[in-house]
C-alpha cells in the first residue's frame, strides 16, 4: 500500500471525526465516510449493494441476539423492587467495614452487574435506592456519588456484558469465554474500589456518619432473604453458560424469563410494565444496531484501503513492545472515551486496532477484557460519559463535579489495567477451566 493511500485513509478517519463533532448521528456518519472510501478505493465495486448486503448479514447474526435480550432483561429488572431488596439485604452487613454503607454501592453494583450487561443500567438501578438512603443518613455527597458512578461501570466488566458481546462479535472471540474472563478482573476491581473507600474512611473518620443500630444475626440473615431472587437469577444466567448448557444468547433468554418471574412474584408485572420493558429494549437495540450497521460497513470499506494492515506492519517495524502498545492504546481510548460512548468507541476502532494487537502478539481474549476496562473509564470521564448522565439526572449535580468525585475510581481502573497486564492469568484462568466453549 502506497503512502498516498494511507494518507487518504487517514483523511477519511479525520472526516469521520469531523462529522461526529458537528453532531451527525454516529451510525450515519460511518455510513457516509464508508461510501466515500468505497468510491475512492474500490471504484469497480457497487458501494451501495455491498453496504446493504454487509449490514443485512452482520446485523442479523445469532451471537448478536444476546445483546437485545440482555438489554431487555435489564429493562425488566429496573422495573422490579430489586433495588430496594438489595439495599435491605446488604446494608446490615456493612456496619463494621470502614466506610460503612458506601460499600452498599460497590457490592450492590457488583452483584447487580452479574445480571446486567450495561453500566448505566447498573448505576441507575442501584442508585435508585442508595442515593436517597445514603443522603438521608448524612454520608458526604462526593464519596456516595463517586463510588456509585465508579462501581456502576462494573456492569460492563462483570458478565453479562454488552461491550463483550459487541467485541466478541466484531473480533470473532467466544462471548462465553469473554464472560468467563471478566469475572476475576471484575471482582478484583470491586476490591480495589472498596479498598479506596475503606482508606478514605480511615483517613476521614469524622465524615462517616454513625452506623445504623446493631441488628442480631438472625435478623440480619432474615433481611438478606431479599437477596435470594437476584442470586438465583445469577445462577440461572451465568451458571447455564459456564456449565456449557447454554450459549450467551440462550442464557440471556433464560434471564428475560427469570426477570419476568421475579417481577411477577413482586407483583410489579402488568401489561404496562411489560410493554414499557419491550419498547425500552427495542429502542435501545435500534440505537445500537444503527451504530453496528455503520461500523460493519466501515470495517468493509477500511479493508479496501489496506490501512489496518499497513498500520499493523508499521507497528511491527517499530518493534514496539506489547507494553508500549498497550500504554499508547490506553491513552488513545481514554481520550476517545471523553467524547464517545463505549460501543461506538469499540466498533470504530476494532477493525484498525485488532490487526495491530495481534501482530504484537497480544491475546485477543485478554485484549477484550482490556478494552472493557477502558470503556468503563469512558463511562465516567466528562464531558461525555453515560454514568455521568444518569447521575446528573438523579442528583442534579453537574457532569464535571460528578467526574471529579469519580476520579479515585478512574484511578482504580488504571491500576486494574496494570495488574491485568502484569498477571494475564487473572483473565485467562477461568476461560481455560470452562466445561465447553459454547458458540
Amino acid at each position: 500500500m502506497g503512502s498516498i493511500d494511507a494518507q487518504i485513509a487517514l483523511l477519511a478517519i479525520a472526516a469521520l471525526f469531523f462529522l461526529f463533532g458537528t453532531g451527525v448521528w454516529i451510525g450515519l456518519s460511518m455510513i457516509g465516510v464508508s461510501v466515500a472510501v468505497m468510491w475512492i478505493f474500490a471504484p469497480a465495486k457497487p458501494a451501495g449493494d455491498a453496504m446493504a448486503t454487509t449490514i443485512f448479514s452482520d446485523t442479523s447474526s445469532w451471537t448478536l441476539t444476546a445483546l437485545p435480550l440482555f438489554i431487555w432483561m435489564g429493562e425488566v429488572l429496573f422495573r422490579t423492587a430489586i433495588s430496594e431488596d438489595m439495599f435491605r439485604g446488604l446494608a446490615p452487613w456493612m456496619r463494621r467495614l470502614p466506610g460503612r454503607l458506601v460499600h452498599t454501592n460497590i457490592i450492590g453494583c457488583s452483584i447487580f452487574a452479574a445480571v446486567s450487561g450495561s453500566s448505566a443500567a447498573t448505576c441507575a438501578t442501584i442508585g435508585k435506592m442508595t442515593v436517597p438512603e445514603l443522603k438521608r443518613r448524612g454520608y458526604p455527597d462526593d464519596i456516595a456519588i463517586g463510588s456509585l458512578s465508579g462501581a456502576g461501570t462494573l456492569g460492563l466488566l462483570i458478565p453479562p456484558s454488552l461491550i463483550m458481546i459487541v467485541y466478541g462479535v466484531q473480533a470473532d472471540v467466544s462471548v462465553a469465554k469473554l464472560f468467563a474472563a471478566g469475572v476475576i478482573p471484575g471482582i478484583m476491581l470491586a476490591g480495589l474500589m472498596m479498598a479506596y473507600v475503606a482508606g478514605w474512611a480511615l483517613l476521614n473518620p469524622s465524615k462517616v456518619p454513625p452506623p445504623d443500630p446493631p441488628m442480631p444475626l438472625a435478623q440480619k440473615l432474615s433481611e438478606s432473604r431479599t437477596l435470594i431472587p437476584v442470586v438465583l437469577l445469577i445462577l440461572l444466567v451465568l451458571g447455564s453458560i459456564y456449565a456449557g448448557i447454554a450459549t450467551a444468547t440462550e442464557s440471556a433468554a433464560f434471564g428475560v424469563v427469570g426477570s419476568f418471574v421475579i417481577a411477577a412474584l413482586q407483583r410489579r408485572l402488568n401489561w404496562q410494565t411489560f410493554w414499557d420493558s419491550v419498547m425500552g429494549a427495542t429502542r435501545l437495540t435500534a440505537m445500537i444496531l444503527l451504530i453496528l450497521a455503520g461500523a460493519s460497513y466501515l470495517k468493509l470499506a477500511m479493508g479496501f484501503t489496506g490501512l489496518p494492515r499497513h498500520l499493523a506492519e508499521t507497528i511491527a517495524a517499530m518493534n514496539l513492545s506489547p507494553a508500549a502498545l498497550i500504554v499508547v492504546l490506553a491513552i488513545l481510548y481514554i481520550i476517545l472515551g471523553c467524547f464517545l460512548d463505549g460501543i461506538s468507541m469499540v466498533v470504530l476502532t476494532i477493525a484498525i486496532v485488532l490487526p495491530m494487537v495481534e501482530q504484537a502478539g497480544i491475546d485477543k481474549l485478554w485484549f477484550g477484557i482490556f478494552i472493557t476496562v477502558v470503556v468503563e473509564m469512558a463511562q465516567i470521564t466528562p464531558p461525555v460519559g453515560f454514568n455521568l448522565f444518569v447521575l446528573q439526572g438523579m442528583t442534579g449535580k453537574s457532569i464535571f463535579w460528578i467526574g471529579r468525585v469519580s476520579l479515585p475510581f478512574f484511578i482504580a481502573m488504571n491500576i486494574c489495567v496494570v495488574l491485568l497486564y502484569l498477571f494475564p492469568g487473572l483473565v485467562t484462568f477461568l476461560p481455560d477451566l470452562m466445561v465447553s466453549a459454547a458458540r
Binding site: 454516529i26 445469532w62 441507575a124 444468547t249 440471556a252 433468554a253 429494549a281 429502542r283 437495540t285
Partner: protein, 185 residues
C-alpha cells in the same frame, strides 16, 4: 399530516416491539432441546423437548434485525440515536439552527442511501428468488423487507424533522439524564 406521521412511527415502533417478543420466542425454542437433554442426563427426567430446533438461530437473527430497523424512526423521534452534541449545545440561535440543518440534511442523504439500497437488496432477492441457507430455507426478501421498511420510515422521520427545523419550528429535543440509561450502549 404530523398526526399521521407520528402514528406511522408509533405503529412501526410497536411492530419492532412485537419482533422483540418473537426473538425471545425463537431463542427459547432453540434452547429447548438442550435443556431437555440436560434434564434427562442430569436428573433422569423424560426429555419433553425432543425436537430439532431447525433454523431457529437464523430466524432469531432476522427477528432482531426486523425489530431494530422497524424501531429506528421511533428511536430517532425521541432523540435517542447517539450523536455527539458537545459542540452543538454551545451554539445559540441561528448558528445552532444552521448546524441542525447540516446534520439533518446529511442525515436525509445518508439514511436515504441506506433505504434505497435496502429496498434494492430486498427487490433483487425477490427477483432472483434467493433463499436463506438454513435447514428451513425461506425467501430472503422476507427478512430484508423489515430492514427496507424500517429504513424508509427512518428517512421519512428525518425529512419531517428537517422540514420542521427549516420552517423555524422547534429543534430536536435532547433526551434528559433520566432517560440516559435508555440510550446506553
Amino acid at each position: 399530516m404530523r398526526f399521521y406521521l407520528r402514528k406511522l412511527y408509533d405503529v412501526t415502533g410497536a411492530l419492532g416491539g412485537v419482533f422483540m417478543i418473537v426473538l425471545l420466542a425463537f431463542v427459547l425454542y432453540s434452547v429447548g432441546p438442550g435443556v431437555g437433554l440436560w434434564l434427562e442426563q442430569s436428573f433422569g427426567l423424560p426429555n419433553l423437548f425432543n425436537y430439532v430446533a431447525r433454523s431457529a438461530d437464523e430466524f432469531s437473527g432476522y427477528a432482531m434485525l426486523a425489530s431494530a430497523f422497524l424501531a429506528m424512526a421511533s428511536t430517532f423521534g425521541r432523540g435517542e440515536h447517539i450523536r455527539v452534541t458537545l459542540f452543538l449545545q454551545r451554539l445559540k440561535g441561528g448558528a445552532r439552527r444552521a448546524a441542525e440543518l447540516w446534520c439533518l440534511g446529511l442525515g436525509v442523504l445518508l439514511a436515504g442511501y441506506l433505504a434505497w439500497f435496502s429496498v434494492r437488496l430486498c427487490y433483487v432477492s425477490w427477483e432472483l428468488n434467493d433463499l436463506s441457507t438454513g435447514l428451513i430455507a425461506i425467501p430472503l426478501w422476507i427478512p430484508q423487507l423489515g430492514m427496507a421498511i424500517g429504513a424508509i420510515v427512518l428517512v421519512i422521520a428525518i425529512v419531517e424533522q428537517l422540514f420542521i427545523v427549516a420552517t423555524g419550528g422547534p429543534l430536536m429535543e435532547e433526551p434528559s439524564g433520566e432517560e440516559a440509561m435508555h440510550i446506553e450502549r
